[in-house]
């Protein structure tokens, strides 16, 4: 447990917070934490308040269930209601609203939706239920995509004909670029997603200093990890030479996990993807490669492209999840926050997942009950 407790050392945290304040400029350094896991940890440990006013933290789009388009959820719901089809999904996805209902709502209407811990569990379902078609929902960024790729490869090796994947996988760097290109937020630094970087390597984030002049510190998820990364960003600003800093040395290497990258390249092809809150981003998603078309649920069930479908049905209800995902609005600034929209009755996806910015603010923020 040293690997967890050791990185929650309160004395080290206090020291790091003092250093950040001592080195901070008069103008707050605006740092976006890309990853929803970071948002959760930052709120849980009270780091937002501890670092103000030296550092202003903004949440980003790094919550895979939050950026899944309504139209994708609608298709998954439709599949679960088809006779003979079982939809398998990670638990985070089950309460995310589509246009009318969620996968949980589909269950109440007789849809067959099963929660799995690992994609491999969905293969086991396919082996046990040979008369049913099992569709695994492939969600997540580069951290999760290789686990789905490995599962697809396994399905092919076994010749499993009743298993397929509905890929909604997304890539992190096109979303980061889309946010910076849109120019809605000015960022002085980015807290890089440590577990994405465990796969891609920290060098994959060099485009930030090189093309945008923004420093990036790849970070782990314990409080001292995050504080060390933010201190490195503050130091980088003082030096005036933006670069990528690997503040998660125990988990991240320069080049990342070559085996995982190889499997992703083999099983997937890069495709445009519809992001809730951001829109259609070219070359930002992963579809199944031609050679794995047989295990592609979109092709097996002849499903339409979601690009034309609704991205964020909740926006019509006044939900500002899209702005939250782009770092433009803080969750408590949304008129629905904590009133019409709570974790028990979420309007938008940011209030559903534990790592959604609204859910994290609601649970741990100053305005929390």
């Amino acid at each position: 447990m040293t690997y967890i407790q050791g990185f929650r050392n309160p004395a080290a945290a206090r020291h790091l917070i003092e250093r950040i304040h001592a080195l901070g400029d008069a103008a707050p350094m605006r740092v976006m934490e890309f990853c929803g896991g970071h948002t959760h940890a930052i709120m849980r440990y009270g780091l937002r308040e501890a670092l103000a006013p030296a550092v202003e933290l903004l949440s980003g789009p790094g919550c895979p269930v939050c950026v899944s388009a309504s139209a994708d959820i609608d298709q998954a719901i439709g599949l679960s209601l088809r006779p003979g089809v079982t939809v398998a999904t990670f638990g985070d996805m089950i309460r995310v609203p589509g246009s009318d209902t969620s996968l949980q709502g589909a269950r109440a209407q007789g849809g067959d939706v099963r929660v799995v811990y690992s994609a491999l569990d969905s293969l086991e379902l396919a082996r046990k239920l040979p008369q049913r078609q099992i569709v695994m929902l492939g969600i997540g960024f580069e951290t999760t995509a290789p686990t789905i790729a490995a599962t697809v490869a396994q399905a092919r090796a076994e010749g499993l004909g009743n298993w397929s994947v509905y890929s909604m996988h997304k890539l992190t760097d096109p979303a980061m670029r889309a946010i910076l290109d849109a120019g809605e937020v000015r960022l002085d630094g980015v807290l890089g997603p440590g577990h994405v970087a465990a796969i891609t390597g920290w060098q994959a984030w060099e485009f930030l200093p090189r093309e945008y002049g923004v420093p990036c510190a790849v970070s782990g998820f314990e409080p001292t990890d995050i504080l060390q990364a933010i201190l490195a960003l503050v130091e980088s600003r003082r030096e005036g030479a933006p670069r990528v800093i690997n503040a998660y040395g125990r988990g991240v290497t320069p080049g990342g996990n070559a085996v995982a990258q190889g499997l992703m390249a083999q099983v997937f092809r890069v495709a445009p993807a519809a992001w809730r809150g951001i829109g259609l981003i070219p070359a930002s998603g992963l579809d199944l490669a031609e050679s794995y078309a047989e295990w592609d649920a979109r092709r097996r069930f002849d499903l339409p492209d979601v690009a034309e479908g609704p991205l964020d049905a909740e926006a019509a209800l006044g939900c500002r999840c899209g702005e939250v995902l782009r770092g433009v609005t803080l969750p408590p600034e949304c008129p629905l926050f904590g009133g019409a929209c709570t974790p028990a009755h979420p309007v938008g996806p940011c209030m559903v997942s534990a790592e959604g910015a609204c859910a994290a603010h609601h649970r741990y923020g100053r305005s929390a009950a």
């Binding site: 040293t2 004395a11 491999l120 999760t144 490995a150 465990a198 125990r250």
Partner: protein, 87 residues
């Protein structure tokens, strides 16, 4: 979603490892980290090891934290000694 936790590999059989997680043994896949050895700490994500942790890197950081903790304790002691002397 990108939650990954560090666990120690207890046993390896082919591409499957037994790891200790929250006091129970659990089977995980080593397909993505074929080089993992018994005794290594790996980051697991949805039933797969995605990275073998660099123990040396981790220990270096922890040593630094221990030094900070010791320095803080010393400062606290000095402060309380000064208070006692003042009183």
């Amino acid at each position: 979603m990108c939650l990954a936790v560090p666990v120690r590999v207890v046993e390896i059989e082919g591409q499957v490892a037994r790891v200790e997680l929250g006091g129970v043994l659990r089977e995980i896949s080593l397909v993505l980290t074929p080089d993992a050895q018994v005794g290594d700490y790996v980051l697991i994500h949805t039933g797969f090891a995605i990275s073998v942790l660099d123990e040396e890197e981790a220990q270096e950081t922890l040593r630094l934290f221990a030094e900070l903790e010791a320095a803080e304790a010393l400062l606290d002691k000095e402060a309380s000694d000064t208070e006692t002397a003042d009183a």
